[in-house]
């Protein structure tokens, strides 16, 4: 049967600081799926949720939880840095992030943010 997509996806492929990188963003009604991979795989799956307990009226804080893969502090830092703006711009929707990164430097993360922004589906 013909495929009129019910969910919107955008994807980009770019060399980021020498590393071939792929980004795919998919908008679901209740969350945004963001895949950022430098290995071609899903890698670590992190759920990034605007927490219900607001510590500040204007900006809800984000809770990160590793659903699959190594639960190390750097993953949480990367996840928050990469998709906080996605969650906020999408109207505080939760983001499901799949990351497999070779370059976890701050400069790398900054460049990846821009790549994610170029796949805006929210």
């Amino acid at each position: 049967m013909a495929a009129k997509p019910i969910v919107t996806s955008k994807q980009r492929e770019e060399v980021v600081r020498g590393v071939p990188t792929e980004v795919v963003c998919t908008a679901f009604s209740n969350s945004i799926l963001v895949v950022v991979t430098q290995y071609g795989k899903m890698g670590t799956l992190v759920s990034v949720d605007p927490s219900t307990i607001a510590n500040d009226v204007s900006k809800p804080s984000l809770t990160t939880k590793v659903l699959l893969g190594t639960d190390e502090p750097l993953i949480h830092v990367c996840a928050k840095n990469l998709v906080t703006f996605v969650s906020q711009e999408a109207g505080n929707k939760p983001v499901l992030l799949a990351i497999a990164l070779k370059d976890k430097s701050m400069e790398g993360i900054k460049a990846l943010q821009e790549l994610i922004r170029s796949c805006q589906v929210w």
């Binding site: 495929a3 997509p5 019910i6 919107t8 994807q11 209740n30 799926l33 795989k41 899903m42 659903l67």
Partner: protein
């Protein structure tokens, strides 16, 4: 159709996106497949929500692929079992997000057959 789906078909190694739909009983069901390296993400639903997610992969120690629930109601095992069956068929790591109310086994068999049919028709998309 969405240009993004078409764009996914380019380089064989890259991530490929593929949307299709089918009818199971009275219901129109949508599918969204994302093929990655040695793995597949497959979303199944009637409206565009992501409510459950499970992952399955083949194990050298067991004929039944191992699976785990990652998101949603863990007592709803439909995503799990569908991921297991697709993992057994494809030998890949399979992520399944099953978002339909109907979890009857005959209904799910329709769903599974529709997926397999699409896999046969477009193997490069899976």
């Amino acid at each position: 159709t969405d240009g993004a789906a078409a764009a996914g078909g380019g380089r064989p190694g890259g991530i490929s996106l593929h949307d299709f739909c089918g009818r199971a009983g009275e219901q129109l069901v949508h599918f969204h497949a994302m093929r990655l390296r040695d793995s597949l993400f497959l979303w199944v639903g009637a409206e565009p929500a992501l409510r459950s997610l499970a992952v399955a992969m083949c194990s050298p120690h067991d004929s039944i692929p191992v699976s785990t629930s990652l998101l949603g109601d863990a007592s709803d095992t439909t995503s799990n079992s569908l991921a297991q069956r697709l993992a057994r068929k494809t030998k890949k790591q399979i992520f399944v997000s099953y978002n339909l109310q109907n979890t009857d086994s005959s209904f799910i068999l329709h769903i599974e057959n529709r997926i397999k049919e699409e896999m046969m028709a477009f193997p490069e998309k899976f």
